[in-house]
């Protein structure tokens, strides 16, 4: 008996919709471009940080929008509305705590991503522009942390901002203007809060979206750098497309970070101090943890006085950022293996150890102040 001839089944509604969109925007071409990117040497866990950062940013945007439904950006209502979110809005404590810890996770992931790119030598030719845009994105992430810190309008927020703006004031030429623009008056008040709020929810997200798009475009143009060691035969045998293995690893990374942030939100939910006043009382001003090392550095005797403060707060970090920006143009050796670049490896260890020592020192310093 001959099998009955099969007829092609009618396309489903979903297939028809996809075909309709595809015909107009080239959906399948975009999908193929996005997912069929070859990853030299195959997928790796070390490559997940970029995707994880994008995920954290999206989650920060989602939780931030939900918080804005309740938050009032005025000096007389910011504190009360934040307290209302914590204590009265259903799951408000969780949203706020997630948003708070999400910002820390973003900083940690930026450091991890930059370290990975640095150690893998992935900033070298032809990826110099990706590195430069990445540095700008690093600045934006720090800006998010700085501007978001003021919004709850408690003593911690008020005084961290006061100290931060005073540090900014020491920048030559632009410092005075920037400090006056941000404060909007002799002391932080309504104008400061309004400006920080606008920068936090409008300017920085727009800048981040634009630069992240450019970063991705440059990355896709130059292609992934791949591992820094392995024979050509090994690399060829392991080379794979972005989908499915790297996508899978990215998803696992995102889930892990999400769970980690949720855990931190549970372990240490956001607690506000007293409402902001121009009198610090017993409170010792302190910035967010990722600025603590710089804050502690400025307590050293060598950085005391007007010139010392300028040296520690502006000149040293500025020179360090300039060095990072110039790195791809200074380091022209094509060697990418970090174990064959001793200066880079030792430099990275020294920077990380310094940050760690001064951060822990700042925590120990609290006991002396108390």
């Amino acid at each position: 008996m001959q099998p009955a001839p099969t007829t092609s089944p009618e396309p489903t509604v979903l297939e028809k919709v996809i075909a309709f969109v595809d015909e107009r925007v080239g959906l399948k071409t975009i999908q193929a471009k996005m997912l069929n990117e070859p990853v030299p040497g195959g997928s790796r866990w070390a490559y997940i940080f970029g995707s994880v950062l994008l995920f954290i940013f999206i989650m920060q945007a989602v939780t931030g929008i939900l918080l804005m439904f309740y938050y009032v950006p005025t000096a007389d209502h910011a504190y009360a509305s934040t307290q209302y979110i914590i204590h009265d809005v259903d799951y408000g404590w969780f949203l706020l705590s997630y948003h708070f810890w999400g910002s820390s996770a973003m900083v940690v992931c930026v450091f991890a991503h930059m370290s990975q790119v640095f150690l893998w030598g992935a900033y070298k030719k032809p990826r110099e522009m990706i590195w430069l845009v990445g540095l700008a994105l690093f600045g934006i992430v720090m800006g998010f942390g700085f501007t978001g810190y003021l919004l709850p309008w408690d003593q911690r927020a008020y005084w961290a901002t006061t100290v931060g703006v005073e540090i900014m004031d020491k920048t030559p030429l632009l410092g005075d203007f920037m400090a006056r623009f941000l404060k909007g008056g002799p002391t932080p008040g309504q104008m400061t809060l309004s400006r920080f709020f606008v920068i936090h929810v409008m300017i920085l997200p727009a800048a981040l979206m634009g630069l992240a798009g450019l970063h991705l475009f440059l990355f896709r143009t130059a292609g992934p750098a791949g591992p820094f060691r392995g024979t050509p035969e090994e690399l060829k045998a392991k080379t794979d497309y972005f989908f499915p293995r790297q996508v899978w690893k990215d998803i696992v990374g995102m889930v892990t970070v999400f769970l980690g942030i949720c855990t931190l939100a549970f372990w240490e939910p956001v607690v506000l101090l007293e409402e902001a006043t121009p009198d610090p009382g017993d409170y010792h001003p302190e910035p967010e943890w990722y600025f603590l090392f710089l804050f502690q550095l400025l307590r050293l005797k060598i950085f005391s006085g007007e010139f010392g403060q300028f040296l520690g707060a502006i000149a040293l970090p500025g020179a360090f950022m300039a060095l990072l920006a110039a790195l791809p143009f200074i380091d022209r050796d094509p060697e990418r293996n970090i174990f064959k670049r001793p200066v880079a490896l030792i430099g990275w260890i020294v920077v990380m150890t310094t940050i760690l020592i001064f951060t822990v020192s700042a925590i120990i310093n609290r006991e002396f102040l108390d």
């Binding site: 404590w93 293995r245 939910p269 307590r299 020192s361 002396f368």
Partner: protein
């Protein structure tokens, strides 16, 4: 073993432990979070330590009770024990996947049957013996180093040193000593696990496939034949865990801090404009009726008074 340069025990141990740690981590973290939401685990102030102990459970699973007996209390709650029990199958699976990959990819050897379970119990026993020793040595060295660095800065010549400098130098001194001892002991510990892997590798047969086929084998090893079933099962598990999490998540803050109680806020009843208008109209109508009644009563009283007066006047008139 093959003709490739043999890996040192340290590299073998690192390969297995680091990869197994990250393979099991997301699954364990999901359960840890769920138990925290259910209020079954309290990590108190030592979250980092608690998580290191829980998430590094291939080697801490038997060591943890011993460490807790030594006074290293990092958390409490029934969920902690339950989490450790759940970690056992997860770790056996993770060790198996990681060890098989290592055997095929790096050692070019056929992985022995049951390598996951065999490595897991050997690592767990080694951890139970080694970790408490490491803990005690590092604790003692740290305490001694802190005491010595303190006493150095008590000397007369250091009295003029500013506080910030003193803190950083002290921290560098005792932190350096403590970190060095910790790193050395960790290297020794990881090498011990590496020796377990090496002893398993000595009895393994060489893999006959070429490199490309070996890569395909260890790659496909992680993906079951029925991928649809795997995706459905994972999605289902994800949905169940998410529903459980949101059901357990407290609607208001589970504030653990006694210092900062929430503000006492008196809730205002919700304002309903139509009801308020109706109520106002009713009140106005009542008041108008009252006013009308009062006016009427007053008018009657006035009328009665007038009548009374006119009656009196009539009676006072002289009789003809």
């Amino acid at each position: 073993m093959t003709d490739r340069a043999p890996l040192s025990p340290l590299k073998l141990g690192l390969n297995v432990l680091w990869s197994a740690f990250w393979t099991g981590f997301p699954i364990k973290l999901a359960f840890a979070l769920l138990f925290m939401a259910l209020g079954m685990i309290h990590f108190e102030a030592r979250l980092g330590l608690g998580f290191v102990m829980v998430l590094a459970s291939p080697i801490t699973v038997f060591a943890m009770p011993i460490l807790m007996m030594l006074g290293s209390h990092f958390g409490e709650g029934a969920g902690l024990g339950l989490l450790f029990l759940l970690c056992i199958p997860i770790d056996i699976w993770a060790m198996g996947v990681v060890a098989k990959t290592l055997f095929l990819e790096r050692l070019h050897l056929e992985p022995p049957d049951g390598i996951g379970f065999s490595l897991w119990w050997k690592s767990a026993v080694t951890g139970a013996l080694y970790l408490p020793v490491l803990w005690m040595i590092v604790s003692t060295v740290t305490e001694t180093a802190i005491a010595i660095s303190h006493s150095i800065f008590e000397l007369e010549i250091f009295h003029g040193l500013p506080v910030a400098e003193k803190i950083s130098i002290e921290l560098t001194l005792w932190g350096g000593v403590s970190a060095t001892v910790l790193i050395i002991l960790l290297v020794v510990g990881v090498s011990l696990i590496g020796r377990l892997v090496r002893s398993a590798a000595q009895n393994a047969a060489p893999a006959s496939d070429n490199y490309q086929r070996l890569v395909t084998r260890w790659d496909l090893m992680r993906v079951p034949a029925d991928q649809g079933l795997m995706l459905t099962a994972m999605t289902g598990a994800g949905v169940v865990l998410s529903v459980l999490f949101w059901a357990a998540l407290p609607a208001s803050t589970p504030h653990p801090h006694e210092c900062c109680k929430p503000l006492e806020v008196k809730r205002q009843p919700p304002f309903k404009p139509i009801d308020a208008l109706n109520r106002g109209e009713r009140t106005l109508a009542q008041l108008a009726a009252q006013v009308e009644a009062i006016e009427k009563q007053r008018a009657e009283e006035e009328a009665a008074k007038d009548k009374h007066k006119s009656g009196k006047g009539k009676s006072a008139e002289p009789k003809p």
